[in-house]
């Protein structure tokens, strides 16, 4: 009698309610090998993009994913602006950074909240989600929607921040700061969280480099890689923030890193609101998109987002392609899961903050 057998995990309800299927070879309770199967939420978005004009694709790319719904249109617009050879007004660049960081805080708090839920600590999950609600109120109050900000347009931003919304945003940030600090302390010291998350799903530095993981997954394993610093865009070079890194590379360190990044994002937001110059928030008129191809990349909450656009001079893209962080990160799950317990699979999957709808689009 063979002591190993294959356990199907998924496609539904592995960590988030997003479909992902694993064939897990287990020996008793221990995972020996993992095989991933993807493709359950393929919606043909790249083909859809080729059948829509430049403007319609702002809305389409915003709907690729809900948690990083600002990073997609932002990178898409950056690629188009690179192609057209135009420079976005400085105020618009600040507004873009603000929108990105608001989304980052909400996304990171969501992920650490889900981690508490997977540990079985639902009261902490509810508390983390309640803290996140402060940022949700910012999105709803300043942008007009809780998830899809609708902040961007080709050549600038659609929204502007006046004195009233600036005051509102600063109030909310002041409300958020002590709560996030408190949350950091809970995640750092709570014995339940520590027992379940420390030392599991370890991704050592050499493997992180080999699998070319990005975002918080890479940074928690000691790879100091952040697009905001490595290939600065918008106004990031002028902003004062530290790229958070860690060396443990386990589930716990990735969660802690996300909370620390949220704290950095709060500071970025405060700097932006303070330094934002007066001026137009977008270029006047319509930006003509010439024939040619261009790329752009940016740091989404989960890591590097890469956009490629090719235009034949008409009002529709000839090709629009994007690569999302989860594409690199989920391959590393094979390293993280090797030797773990079956009960830890959801925690490890959640720790890479997978976004299946981005990756399979």
């Amino acid at each position: 009698m063979s002591s190993t057998y294959t356990l199907p995990v998924g496609p539904l309800h592995v960590a988030l309610e997003e479909p992902m299927y694993f064939d897990v070879k287990v020996e008793g309770e221990t995972v020996r090998a993992v095989e991933l199967a993807a493709g359950h939420v393929h919606r043909g978005m790249e083909a859809l993009a080729m059948n829509r004009n430049w403007f319609q694709n702002i809305t389409l790319t915003e709907r690729v994913c809900s948690l990083c719904s600002n990073s997609h249109p932002a990178t898409y617009c950056m690629a188009l602006e690179n192609l057209a050879g135009i420079v976005v007004p400085e105020r618009a660049q600040y507004l873009r950074v603000i929108a990105d960081e608001v989304k980052r805080i909400a996304s990171h708090l969501f992920n650490v909240g889900i981690m508490a839920h997977l540990v079985g600590f639902d009261s902490l999950f509810m508390h983390a989600m309640e803290i996140r609600e402060i940022m949700q109120d910012v999105k709803e109050g300043v942008y007009g929607n809780r998830m899809n900000l609708g902040a961007l347009t080709i050549g600038g931003c659609r929204y502007d921040i006046d004195e009233e919304s600036k005051g509102f945003m600063l109030d909310q940030l002041n409300k958020l700061k002590p709560l996030v600090a408190e949350l950091h302390n809970v995640y750092d010291t709570d014995p339940l969280i520590k027992t379940r998350t420390q030392g599991i799903g370890v991704l050592p530095l050499d493997k992180a480099i080999e699998y070319e993981v990005v975002g918080p997954v890479a940074r928690a394993s000691g790879v100091n890689y952040d697009v905001r610093r490595k290939v600065p865009y918008a106004v990031y070079p002028e902003l004062d923030f530290e790229v958070q890194t860690d060396t443990a590379g386990d589930v716990h360190s990735r969660a802690m890193l996300r909370i620390r990044e949220a704290v950095e994002s709060v500071s970025i937001l405060e700097q932006c609101l303070e330094r934002m110059p007066e001026g137009p928030n977008q270029l006047p008129g319509f930006v003509p998109i010439p024939k040619g191809e261009a790329i752009a990349r940016s740091e989404a909450p989960r890591g590097e987002v890469f956009y490629y656009v090719r235009s034949d001079g008409t009002d529709m893209p000839q090709r629009l392609k994007w690569r999302v962080p989860t594409y690199m990160n989920w391959e590393a799950l094979q390293v993280m899961m090797a030797g773990c317990q079956v009960a830890d699979i959801p925690l490890i999957v959640n720790s890479i903050d997978p976004c299946i709808s981005c990756t399979e689009r």
Partner: protein, 178 residues
């Protein structure tokens, strides 16, 4: 030990943080992007809203007798991105803060903005032109009020017949006609 216990007790004492909707009105911020609203008195039928709409929620169809355009925006197709309102040059399309869009399944095609926008008429020859509603005339047509109400060919004619010659030594067409 158990650092969360204190927070939990605090949360417990604070009571529920959800809103009492539907028994009490829910808070809606002023900038909320809800149901789109089309004002036929501002619309000039430029069609940019339909062009930028990723959802294809907007339809503009010329009515049979050619007197105007039937403008339809289906709220069920709309994704509330607000691009139409952003690009609308006359702000005929706006996003309201109304999010009360619940309706019965059989009404799904009836929940829509439905308006009839009448074409304008050239003040000289009566040809069909884009609408010239009063608010638009006040906003855009004050520089050359006469020409603003004309069709393109009458406009060219009137420009060619200007009494002021383009160059001082040239004779205008107006004088040569006489």
């Amino acid at each position: 030990m158990l650092p969360f216990l204190k927070i939990m007790v605090k949360n417990l004492l604070a009571g529920p943080s959800t809103e009492a909707f539907p028994f009490a009105p829910a808070h809606t911020p002023a900038r909320f992007r809800g149901k789109a609203n089309h004002d036929k008195n501002k619309c000039i039928l430029c069609g940019i809203c339909r062009h930028v709409c990723a959802a294809g929620a907007i339809q503009m169809r010329v009515v049979e007798d050619g007197s105007g355009v039937e403008y339809v925006l289906w709220h069920n197709s709309c994704v509330f991105c607000g691009l139409c309102a952003h690009y609308c040059p006359t702000k005929a399309l706006t996003m309201t803060d109304d999010w009360h869009l619940a309706h019965r399944g059989e009404d799904r095609f009836a929940v829509r903005e439905d308006s009839f926008v009448r074409y304008g008429q050239c003040s000289t020859c009566g040809a069909r032109i884009q609408p010239r509603p009063a608010v638009i005339v006040e906003a855009l047509g004050t520089r050359y009020p006469d020409r603003f109400m004309m069709c393109p060919s009458c406009k060219r004619e009137s420009l060619a017949k200007r009494s002021v010659p383009a160059k001082p030594d040239m004779e205008t067409s107006e004088t040569s006609d006489e």
